[in-house]
């Protein structure tokens, strides 16, 4: 019992869910930048187990449904929510938003809004680590949708060919937007695809986060020794694709059945059953998280907006002149 990581993993999953609930609230309050907010409620096990199994200097890219992974890797909820609100204090000064959040200090090489777009990034990062003799692993997180993108297989082949410290991690939530996986793939056994590239593979299809953590850690540790790996974590996207999606393409009965497969209540029950924590302990954890995330909401809402000139910054390096605004261009022509 003393060695168990379950409370830590539970806390990570709970923080992810509470964070995502605040994202949803931010939208309801009209404080989010837009509606393209992809929540990972129900999918917390993957980010928690793989995120925890990675080491401090390891890096990663995520897909558009990546808030949870960043929370698991130490993302500051204040700055994350500020980014999602499009505010100045956000990780990317509000210019990336939910789908392009990144933080180089925490090894977050970027969330990506192109399905599969961030996968080759980790191949290149791993090329750097190998060349520079840095002991780091880079992990690409993506959904089941990206399993159908060619770039994944180009990347797997390169990782295998060059023996790179890379892990490909598929969080399979069963839906590519509104299309059920059965309607998108001919063969569902994703591990077989990865095996054919010579990758170490792992398929997780249960709710035991601690065992998933240990198995993931083996894959990541092997990757550190230049044996790239592939992890698939099956889960269920509890809510719609993005904040406006009410999931008309699936039955409510399916949703209510699948929501019973909740990794967070499973972990909570496991802890109580095995006398790791009691209900009061768990409530205390939950309450602290509520307070933390409420503060993050407040921070995001109160964070200042950008000056208008921010539009023109960061297109090119700071040594280059800023792009000229359209207003300036047009007035120059008219005053000519």
């Amino acid at each position: 019992m003393s060695n168990t990581l379950l409370p830590k993993l539970y806390k990570t999953m709970k923080r992810i869910r509470t964070f995502e609930e605040r994202v949803s609230e931010l939208f309801i309050k009209g404080e989010s930048a837009g509606t393209m907010l992809h929540l990972s409620i129900g999918e917390e096990l993957g980010p928690a187990c793989v995120g925890t199994a990675m080491q401090e200097n390891d890096t990663f890219t995520t897909h558009h449904r990546g808030h949870g992974i960043f929370v698991a890797r130490g993302g500051d909820p204040n700055r994350m929510l500020a980014e999602i609100a499009g505010k100045k204090d956000g990780y990317c000064k509000g210019k990336g938003g939910s789908m392009h959040i990144a933080d180089m200090k925490l090894g977050h090489l970027g969330a990506n809004a192109i399905v599969g777009g961030g996968i080759p990034t980790v191949v290149g990062a791993a090329m750097s680590y190998k060349y520079l003799k840095e002991e780091r692993v880079s992990v690409a997180f993506f959904g089941d949708g990206a399993m159908q993108q060619g770039i994944l297989y180009e990347s797997m082949n390169m990782a295998s060919l060059w023996k790179l410290p890379v892990v490909f991690c598929c969080i399979n939530n069963q839906y590519g937007m509104g299309t059920k996986i059965e309607n998108a793939v001919g063969v569902k056994d994703f591990s077989k695809r990865a095996e054919s590239f010579g990758l170490n593979t792992l398929h997780i299809n249960d709710l035991d986060v601690e065992s998933a953590y240990h198995k993931s850690k083996d894959i990541i540790d092997s990757a550190r020794k230049f044996k790239p790996g592939f992890i698939e974590i099956e889960c269920y996207r509890f809510y719609g694709h993005a904040r406006m999606d009410k999931s008309p393409y699936r039955d409510e009965s399916e949703e209510s059945e699948k929501r019973k497969l909740d990794p967070i209540s499973f972990a909570s029950n496991q802890m109580i059953k095995n006398n790791i924590l009691d209900e009061d302990d768990i409530k205390k954890i939950d309450d602290d998280i509520m307070i933390e995330m409420d503060k993050a909401m407040e921070f995001a809402i109160n964070s200042p907006i950008n000056e208008e000139t921010e539009i023109f910054k960061d297109v090119y390096s700071e040594n280059d002149p800023l792009p000229v605004s359209l207003d300036e261009k047009i007035n120059k022509i008219l005053n000519n």
Binding site: T59, G90, Y91, C92, K93, G94, K95, G96, H100, A102, D103, M104, L109, G110, N112, I114, G117, G118, I119, P120, T121, V122, V123, G124, A125, A126, M127, S128, Y129, Y131, L132, E134, S138, G150, I151, E154, S155, N157, M158, L161, K313, D314, V315, Y316, S317, E318, N319, D320, P323, I333, N336
Partner: protein, 332 residues
């Protein structure tokens, strides 16, 4: 390349100028790597990386699988993580394969991530007609890049520029797309390692003139120069401007030249519609309309796919005869 350490070459090919630029840059910066299809053992489809494998080893000169999206994507990841890759796409036409990684990833990393990081890399490729390569191996797709904020774009015509612009691109923090021309590799010129000619982002006025401005870049510069010699014999003094880089674009030199000559012909091997010449023509009109004596002419390739048949391909792009003919009409 007899002596790599020479500073001045009276006559060097465009290809060797590029090889030398990569060689010198790699000697200076050990984090520069080259990756692409057949860049190592084969030495590059057009020989631009010949012998670099021997000199720098397989850790730095890397043959990749035929995976253009992942070549660019991996280079982006490497550039974000401490290396300075030179990724090679064998043909510019393969932009079609890689455009997500070029336009949605590479170009936008600095901006989307709020200025935290860039991807300092050079994407080398080559385009253009002249070898009956057909519709998928002969295009000039620079406008795709110019239409994408976040990328620097260089298209040198002369060996000295090929060397210095590539050297510069390998020092700056902006991702740079470097488009060569397949028929320029064997052309020759001088190279002075100590004389950059003009800074990156500035155009070169290759020939001063009074009557008309011929504005171009890449291989068409050589056509423009030849046409201007013929025109001179007919008492037409053409100013030839080699843009060298399309981002940054030297608007000032274009505008000043046309304000002086009051006439312009913009020359390129790209398609006519929505092309780099379209953009330059707009700039000229917006800034010089009061002085223009004639409409600005965009002389480009036809708005059709590139044909293979040599007689068709030859007349598909601008010809020197027609440059002379159109310029004379503009000056009439």
């Amino acid at each position: 390349m007899s002596d790599l350490n020479q500073n001045y070459f009276e006559k060097i090919t465009y290809r060797d100028a590029l090889r030398l630029a990569m060689h010198d840059a790699m000697q200076e910066d050990k984090n520069i790597i080259i990756m692409g299809e057949d860049v190592a053992n084969y030495g590059g489809a057009y020989g631009a990386t010949k012998d670099l494998l021997k000199l720098f080893g397989k850790e730095r000169v890397i043959d990749t699988p035929i995976s253009e999206p992942a070549i660019v994507g991996a280079a982006v990841g490497a550039a974000m993580s401490g290396l300075r890759p030179i990724a090679e796409l064998m043909y510019v036409d393969f932009f079609g394969m890689s455009m997500d990684q070029i336009a949605n990833q590479l170009a936008k990393i600095r901006y989307m991530f709020g200025g935290q990081i860039s991807a300092p890399m050079v994407l080398r490729t080559q385009g253009g007609t002249g070898r009956s390569g057909g519709a998928q191996h002969s295009q000039s797709l620079e406008s795709w890049i110019m239409h994408t904020p976040g990328l620097f774009l260089s298209m040198p015509a002369k060996p000295n520029d090929a060397y210095h612009l590539l050297r510069h691109a390998l020092k700056i923090d902006n991702p740079t797309i470097f488009i060569e021309h397949k028929l320029l590799y064997n052309t020759t010129g001088t190279l002075d390692k100590k004389n950059i000619g003009a800074p990156f982002g500035k155009a070169n006025i290759l020939r001063k003139g009074e009557d008309v401005s011929i504005i171009s870049y890449s291989r068409m510069i050589n056509y423009a120069e030849k046409a201007s010699e013929i025109l001179e014999k007919e008492n037409i003094s053409a100013e030839v401007i080699d843009l060298r880089t399309l981002y940054p674009l030297d608007r000032e030199t274009i505008i000043n030249s046309v304000k002086k000559t009051k006439r312009a012909l913009v020359l390129s091997e790209s398609y006519y519609t929505s092309s780099v010449p379209s953009e330059i023509t707009s700039i000229i009109f917006e800034n010089c309309y009061k002085v223009l004596k004639k409409p600005v002419i965009r002389y480009t390739a036809e708005d059709t796919p590139v044909p293979v048949a040599p007689n068709l391909e030859k007349n598909y792009i601008p010809t020197i005869e027609k440059i002379v003919e159109y310029t004379k009409k503009v000056c009439n």
